[in-house]
């Protein structure tokens, strides 16, 4: 490495609530380094008051998502080399959520909408009942399985322009969760889900711009899940009219 590349110029968002600005730090460059490593280095060696959130460091827990050069990313699995722009990188708090301080956002609206979309699993049988047999090759099981690897990192929620313009909108993660439960044979009342996603902030506000699917770090497809909800609710609507 040349001397010029020995440090990174890192802009980090600092501030509480709506007020704030970017602050620049010089961070030593390493051969292998993630964005989360960079943020941690700043907190350890440059400014101990920097606030951020992380837990597992291996892309399982979904707590370290931030905006990196304006794109939502899971920072623990985003290599600096992949996003570095002329020796510089800009790190900010997730979009579309209220900022608590620096890089930590308030995730409450995100999880509240999960519940509002019918995302709480209610089992169709108790532990006293025999376990129902589920065929893994069954179509609806495969549709349900397509969405279960969601880690609730809120990257899709931060990527979505519809959420940005329409604060009521439930957003891609919550709606994908609803679609997963709707296709889960072990979920108690599946028609309840269709009612929960048909309100003023429901799946019908989606414009299928697909940023959720483009940015999902786990390669999930919330846009198609939302399309599934639109299809089922439309079918229900037409059936009721007959």
């Amino acid at each position: 490495m040349t001397a010029q590349n020995d440090t990174l110029e890192v802009s980090v968002w600092r501030g509480s609530g709506v007020a704030g600005q970017f602050e620049t730090f010089e961070v030593p460059a390493q051969d292998n380094q993630t964005i989360l490593d960079v943020v941690s280095w700043i907190q350890h060696y440059a400014d101990a008051t920097l606030t951020y959130r992380f837990a597992c460091r291996v892309g399982m827990c979904g707590s370290c998502a931030m905006m990196v050069n304006g794109r939502p990313r899971w920072t623990c699995r985003t290599h600096v080399k992949k996003v570095l722009n002329g020796g510089k990188v800009e790190i900010g708090p997730l979009r579309n959520l209220p900022i608590i301080k620096d890089l930590a956002v308030d995730m409450d609206p995100f999880f509240d909408k999960w519940v509002a979309a019918g995302g709480v699993h209610t089992p169709s049988a108790s532990r006293a009942d025999p376990i129902p047999a589920i065929d893994p090759g069954d179509h609806s099981r495969q549709v349900a399985s397509a969405g279960i690897e969601c880690i609730n990192c809120s990257v899709c929620y931060a990527a979505c322009d519809t959420v940005a313009g329409n604060p009521e909108y439930l957003g891609p993660a919550a709606l994908q969760r609803a679609w997963t439960l709707y296709n889960d044979a072990k979920h108690e009342d599946r028609t309840d889900i269709l009612a929960a996603v048909s309100g003023a902030g429901g799946c019908h506000n989606c414009h299928s711009m697909g940023s959720c699917t483009v940015y999902c770090p786990n390669d999930l497809d919330p846009m198609s899940a939302i399309a599934g909800l639109k299809r089922e609710t439309a079918r229900g609507f037409l059936r009721r009219r007959k």
Binding site: G165, G199, G201, K230, A234
Partner: protein, 114 residues
């Protein structure tokens, strides 16, 4: 802001207009050959029940479709909500319907009637 009812209304009017729009484009391409004149247009359309129904249903569908579309844009770009948004939505729809109906009547009604 867009519930299931408005969504279905938007999609149904879109489906109604899909063939009408293609027909309209075909008419435009046909009509502009050799220039346009009021007499030529009216000669084709005035007193025709077919064109009255064609453009009448087109106007009805487009008034609803444009009103709902503008409602979404207004909400997302200006943050307007509630009664104001609803009033503006249906005001726009009604305005377009009235203006469109006047146009349809002007070009398809048999001469001298209204």
């Amino acid at each position: 802001m867009l519930d299931l009812r408005l969504y279905m209304l938007q999609r149904i009017t879109a489906l109604i207009m899909a063939p009408l729009t293609l027909g309209h484009i075909a008419v435009i391409i046909y009509a502009v050959q050799g220039g346009l004149s009021a007499a030529e247009i009216l000669g084709r359309t005035q007193g025709s029940v077919f064109w009255f129904l064609f453009y009448g249903s087109f106007v009805l569908a487009v008034a609803v479709h444009a009103a709902i579309g503008l409602r979404v844009i207004l909400h997302e770009w200006t943050g307007m909500t509630g009664t104001r948004l609803a009033a503006l939505t249906w005001g726009v729809g009604l305005g377009l319907f009235v203006m469109g109906s006047k146009a349809v009547i002007a070009v398809t009604w048999p001469v001298g009637l209204p």
